[in-house]
Symmetry: C2
Subunit: 267 residues, 2 copies
Amino acid sequence: MASLAQSPTRPPYSMVKITQGNTRVAQNIYDNDQFFANYSSLPRSRDGLAAAPEWPALQAFLPPVPGARVLDLGCGFGWFARWAIEAGAANVLGIDISANMLARALELTESDAITYRQGDLESLAMDEPPFDLVYSSLAFHYIEDFGKLARGMAEWLRPGGRLVFSVEHPIFTAPSTQEFIEGPDGRPAWPLNRYLDEGPRVTAWLAPGVVKYHRTIGTYVRDLVAAGLVVRDIVEWAPSPEAITEHPEWGENRERPPFLLVAADRP
Amino acid sequence: MASLAQSPTRPPYSMVKITQGNTRVAQNIYDNDQFFANYSSLPRSRDGLAAAPEWPALQAFLPPVPGARVLDLGCGFGWFARWAIEAGAANVLGIDISANMLARALELTESDAITYRQGDLESLAMDEPPFDLVYSSLAFHYIEDFGKLARGMAEWLRPGGRLVFSVEHPIFTAPSTQEFIEGPDGRPAWPLNRYLDEGPRVTAWLAPGVVKYHRTIGTYVRDLVAAGLVVRDIVEWAPSPEAITEHPEWGENRERPPFLLVAADRP
């Protein structure tokens, strides 16, 4: 049976604090009932990795998993944690800010090689031995200070260890309106703007008022390099033309990538 | 007096061959009279680095220049070559495909530590000793096979040497129409599409029928890493807010970056 651990050195739960104008609001959107209900009904929430079309590309970034000690940041329902154990990982520590997410993850998990811990990626402390793999799927765009997190991850990895993560692509997070329009020549176009204007974006994804942090690919790379990590690969991911034949509703994603996938090593 | 050398192992001049549909056309647009006349009147052609607003960001990527052996790929009028010699470089080899460009570069150059050579970056051979710095400004988006060029550059650099280059940003090169429009909320928007569709783009920049090659940031990074280089920095460059106060006509460039700047090292 998987266990729900408390962080040894931090309060068990802290809210992500963000600043919008002059008001300070707390964001743990996954513990908002409306959001969580909507999130829980997404295909990737119900069916896990098999319903995440970018998973094969992210999987291709992974180092050998058998025997690996794995840290999963923003583990959600634990789909990756369970996959990693099935693929032979020695153990997985999954961190998530949401009690809702972790409760469901615990229900779904039988392996006692998986530990879930409630924690805030903005201020995470870790006193475990170093990990072979730090993994994160679609969580870091909720993080304001990626540089700080990158320094943390570089420290939590063993020398030779690998970081693999996905985020919403900066082209996706940047603009003031996030819907395709008809371009001047009739082709669908993504009305990109605000790309250089890094910072919070308030969107209505599954619930109103969801805050994501837009930063450029350049900033992701610079923060990783400054933390002492070596970038090994970047994929600006969209469904393949073959996948779109099967799922025509994904077609517009080849006009602009929805996700950014990154692999980096600690030398 | 600078010299115009011929490549020792290749014909002195070969046209860039590109394929458009079923016709094969040759591109050395800088030896097209209309294009060259327009190009020559650009501020950065007349006034060199001082008129290139991204130059300070690119300069920040340079290793120590004094004593360095420098290779400048797509050297154009030789502005960087002359700057490097003034900054103390031991010598500079400037390569360009255009006889027009090199003739003008020779006129402007007095130092005999600069050698210009006509050559095609798609098929460049080099038998010089390795360089400390390979530099290129806004040339590689004319190159179809960046992977091959990256392998060449990794070979031409000494261990510990650095590659610094700028290209038109993929967000700039991708779309089917390259003009800002009014977005759904009234803010200027860049109608991005075709981002995942890598390959030639025929534009009307200074002359009709100019062909540039769109590739993603991911592809640039992957090709560099595959060539054995280590990415040190990526800047998705746009003028600073301060620069825009001085040049309001640049304002829209903060909505989407015009240039991508990359620094990579040979370990």
